[in-house]
């Protein structure tokens, strides 16, 4: 490689380093996926009026990695394939929430979120009585069947009022 070629390549790399440093200075990357128009968690819905509602949330960020999309897809399939009737009857709510949207940051402390997470919660007469972060989703990511069984088992325990 000639000296001028090296210099040209160095200029390109310096530009990349500087653009990376711009992120480090606090610039957020542009959202890749538009924020869905789903209502934020905690909003009063018709289902809240029921005595017992189970809510399942996938808390995501604006920047979405391949594994994060996989978790969302696996959870969506697991919930919709096993609990379609409960969702239709208003006994269950399944939502995806972007915790980096203004007003949603409080979920991080509220549910002790360490990364993108699936959280299941019980609401009785509109008030939250318990919740659980399904931490094992990251261990089961390579096996969709086991992943679905784990999520469905945990959600079913909440639906049936078992601890």
């Amino acid at each position: 490689m000639t000296l001028s070629q090296k210099s040209g390549l160095a200029v390109v790399l310096v530009a990349l380093v500087l653009s990376g440093a711009a992120f480090a200075a606090g610039k957020e990357p542009a959202p890749v996926v538009p924020t869905p128009g789903t209502p934020s968690a905690g909003n009063a819905t018709a289902a809240d009026a029921a005595s017992h509602v189970v809510e399942v949330y996938y808390f995501r960020t604006t920047n979405r990695c391949a594994s994060c999309r996989k978790i969302e897809a696996f959870t969506d399939a697991a919930i919709k394939s096993a609990f379609a009737k409960e969702i239709q009857d208003g006994k269950m709510i399944w939502q995806v929430v972007n915790i980096q949207e203004p007003g949603n940051e409080h979920f991080i402390q509220e549910y002790k979120l360490v990364t993108k997470s699936v959280v299941v919660m019980d609401k009785v007469n509109g008030g939250q009585v318990r919740w659980k972060n399904l931490a094992r989703i990251w261990e089961l990511l390579s096996d969709e069947t086991q992943f679905a069984q784990y999520v469905q088992r945990e959600v079913r325990e909440y639906l049936e009022g078992r601890s």
Partner: protein, 230 residues
Amino acid sequence: MTESLAGGATALWLGILTAISPCPLATNIAAVSYIGRDVGRSGRVVVSGLAYTLGRSLAYVGIAMLVVASVLTIPGVSWFLQEQANRILGPLLIVIGVLILGWIRIPMSSFGIGEKLQKRAASGGALGAGFLGMLFALSFCPVSAGLFFGSLIPLSVSARSPVTLPALFGIGTGLPVLACAIAIAFGANVIGRAFDALTRIERWAKPVTGAVFILAGVYLVVGRFFGFSG
């Protein structure tokens, strides 16, 4: 005793799961090329690999001790490392790659510091590999954050093991990288000797490592723009 063994095995397995997940692929490839580039000196490859694994373990033990002692909150430190450490990792890999290739000279060289840094980055050695292990361990991606902060830390807290279990987790994250580096270095050594081309392979090992670091860095920087990494 059985519980301790089960806890240790779980910690090790969680570490291996972290290493083989697609999320830290770019840094793993960079680590393999860095550790395995001393093709002609098998002993150095093993020592560098062990130092890399030790560096990772030290980083995880450090975080676990701070979290267990409640100096840091788990969500706070997890999100900070996922966001901030990953922001600087891409540019840093590019800089290290360029230093390995010797394309730029650090301006502070008149004090001797820049020159030493440049030589350290280029020659590697156990210290460089250990530093790399710590750096890569601290650059959490969603999978490693989920497994470390979501599964390993609660396990460490319940087992009252802020050192052993995180250390085993670190060993687990280093093992696949160590195995790949040793396999590649030994393989290249055998092929090099068989075809009497070891010197040529050794000569190419350094530029290849530099190029891998630059490509991994570019992947991470561009990935942040387009949202396919992190």
